[in-house]
Amino acid sequence: MARPAKKKAATGKTPPLGNKERPPEPKRYKAKKEELLDFYKQMLLIRRFEERAGQLYGLGLIGGFCHLYIGQEAVAVGLQSAMEVGKDSVITGYRDHGHMLAYGIDPKVIMAELTGREAGISRGKGGSMHMFSVEHGFYGGHGIVGAQVSLGTGLAFKHQYSGDGGVNLAYFGDGAANQGQVYESFNMAELWNLPIIYAIENNHYAMGTSVERSASEPDFYKRGESFQIPGIQVDGMDVLAVRGAAEVALEWTRSGEGPIILELKTYRYRGHSMSDPAKYRTREEVDSYKKERDPIDRIKADLEKAGVSEEDLKAIDKEIKDIMVEAAKFAEETPEPEAAELYTDVLVETY
């Protein structure tokens, strides 16, 4: 017997998270002049680094896959400027250069890794997607989409287990957000109240597949709802908005409230990787982000208001350019690994 179709309840609003307390709405961070200058410097460093990496790739000095972070700089800088190096930990996927630079890791050893040299941060054995700095609490650099989410949850477990007061920041994209292990991790993180910030960098495209074509729930900040994990959507093109959200997220996790999700709405100007012609989106779309929402242009306006002159900014541009020239020169000239390195580091111990 046919049953009448049930009327769908009119929702339209985000359902409340049970009776659970929610974090407050983040405010745009009120940065001091020095902080603004610092954010500008870091974002510019990432952009110039990535532009240079693109050039070196074109020259054949960088091989394999190389995923550039241009356009997304405000996310890494806004979030990581709030983290404590040495106490907290960061983990990410394959688009990792920007996240490393935002943690103050030397651009020379990152670039030398991209060119596959002995002096590279992974001795030339990892390449663009696999870089680590345990010293900085930067745990990679993982090439399997979504793996870093479970691994980051493990790092958060470690922070809780050892009572070191640290928080893990696990980055992943809108593409990885559809992987099953993300939800396995959400479940355990909330169940065990782990100190972790899940930062979903929504740049709208998982390689060539748009969010509209791949996500039944395109608002990624809501993806934690059935796990009781609160989520906040953030303008990822504004470093101060991102930093403001980072403050709220850190306060939430450090005070023992458990995991939190930040969805950073951002955009990558380049293709998914160097070999991607990016035909799945229009030039107009890309240009609208570049012209109207560029994170570096945006902070320039804030710097202007804070009384920073055009000259001051030019001096910074020059400083960054010099750092990049030096890094690229180093990465080109420093030698490749010795042949004997082929067999080192497979295992730690000898059996």
Binding site: R123, G124, H142, K158, V348
Partner: protein, 463 residues
């Protein structure tokens, strides 16, 4: 008409159990579904329910009786006032013969495995370890207890060690391997997970990268296929990809290989899979002493270790040296039986099959040397080749598939590095190259048997 209640098989590998408690007494009326007794298996305490209604006429096995064989009569049920004379004569803890009508199954509800490998009466071997001080006493210990002791000892010694997995804490382990750990170490260090293999393998790997020493239990390695990405891509490759900067000292452990009558998805040997991956250490012990000593070494290792146990061996007891800190070195094979005529190489449960074959061969004048590889990666080729140089003949025995297997690897090593020592082509005895079937007779046909090993050893000896 009166009928006997028989000791039920409450797990696929149960052979006997303890009749812990009767919950009914003689003369009680029983309805179907009533709980009659509590029975302890090697894994858990289970309730035994009545299937039929009637009156409990006589209890044949009193409560508290240990080692009651599956299928033996434990009580008589019938109508009130019925005479139990004929039946009570059978009262003993010995198993009664169960008549097996082909196609109907035994009255324990299903057929038992017919495969010899699933029987827990493998040859007992003394554990030979030259490094032990003279006068070391031995303690008979099951593989299950040995594994638990290894974890407990390492957890006492190192705060960073914790155990995580499905049912490891409150349930005391799906196969009771983690029994008692929750009580001693608390829920901070003995952690029940949701059913989420991929997730908790990643959580464990991340915790190891952060500096902890996780022991991740998979209920069986069949389920670890959902997590194999983290075992290989995250754990095994990290040290290399980071140029030696970031380690992943983790142990993934659990039962591997065929159990008994659980069919293809639950019966597979992953030894060859993991042993093919550079960056992993792969251990697959046979004896309880090796299970203990190697698990301790695995937990202490700075490298990621895949530790492949065997469900059928969990209940088997072996002598374990009664010393404070028994650690067996990783990467060293063990000569389980010395001999001079033919070398039989195996690992895990295959060692038992090889030893049984060696006994038969001895009766026929062939003196076989049995090598227990113990570690599958790195492989102790030196011990294998030294034995080959002595015997000039070799058979490899593996409870697993033949193609791209540990046996294939041993045969390649013999060809490449021991060719001049070979008086005959190396032969292998492996499971049939099929998904493991359920039917008892087919399962038996698929699994390795001592008789096949005997035949192969004779063939390479031209006998």
């Amino acid at each position: 008409m009166a009928s006997e209640l028989k000791m039920p098989a409450l797990s696929p590998t149960m052979e006997e159990g303890t009749l812990a408690k009767w919950l009914v007494k003689e003369g009680d009326a029983i309805a179907a579904g009533d709980i009659l007794a509590e029975i302890e298996t090697d894994k858990a305490t289970m309730e035994f329910e009545a299937v039929d209604e009637g009156v409990l006429l006589k209890i044949l096995v009193p409560e508290g009786t240990d080692n009651v064989a599956v299928g033996s009569a434990i009580a008589v049920i019938g109508e009130e006032g019925e005479d139990t004379g004929g039946l009570s004569a059978a009262a003993s803890a010995a198993p009664s013969e169960v008549e097996d009508v082909p196609g109907e199954g035994k009255d324990v509800g299903r057929e038992e495995s017919e495969a010899a490998i699933t029987k827990i009466d493998m040859p007992k071997v003394a554990h030979v370890d030259a490094n032990l001080p003279e006068g070391t006493t031995m303690k008979s210990t099951s593989v299950r207890e040995a594994l638990r002791d290894a974890m407990a000892e390492e957890m006492r010694a190192d705060e960073r060690v914790f155990v995580m997995g499905e049912e490891v804490a409150q349930y005391q382990g799906a196969y009771k391997v983690t029994q008692g750990l929750l009580d001693e170490f608390g829920d901070k260090r003995v952690i029940d997970t949701p059913i989420t293999e991929y997730g908790f393998a990643g959580v464990g790997s991340g915790a190891a990268m952060g500096g902890l020493r996780p022991v991740i239990e998979f209920m069986t390695f069949n389920f670890a296929m959902q997590a194999i990405d983290h075992i290989i891509n995250s754990a095994a490759k990290t040290n290399y990809m980071s140029g030696g900067q970031m380690r992943c000292p983790i142990v993934f452990r659990g039962p591997n290989g065929a159990a008994s009558r659980v069919a293809a998805q639950h019966s597979q040997n992953y030894g060859p899979w993991y042993a093919s991956v550079p960056g992993l250490v792969v251990i697959s012990p046979y004896t309880a002493a090796d299970a203990k000593g190697l698990l301790k070494a695995a937990i202490r290792s700075e490298d990621p270790v895949v530790f492949l146990e065997n469900e059928l061996l969990y209940g088997q007891s072996f002598d374990v040296p009664d010393v404070d800190d028994y650690v067996v070195p990783i990467g060293k094979a063990r000569i389980a039986r010395e001999g001079s005529d033919v070398t039989i190489v195996s690992y895990s449960i295959g060692v038992g099959v090889a030893l049984e074959a060696a006994e038969t061969l001895a009766g026929e004048g062939i003196d076989a040397e049995v090598i227990d590889l113990r570690t599958l990666r790195p492989l102790d080729t030196a011990t294998v080749l030294a034995s080959l140089a002595k015997t000039n003949r070799m058979v490899v025995v593996e409870e697993g598939w033949p193609v791209c297997s540990i046996s294939s690897e041993i045969m390649a090593v013999a060809m490449e590095q021991g060719f001049d020592d070979l008086d005959a082509p190396v032969m292998r005895v492996t499971n049939a190259d099929v998904p493991l079937p359920y039917a008892a007779n087919l399962e038996k046909l698929a699994l390795i048997k001592p008789a096949q090993v005997v035949e192969a050893a004779k063939a390479v000896s031209y006998r």
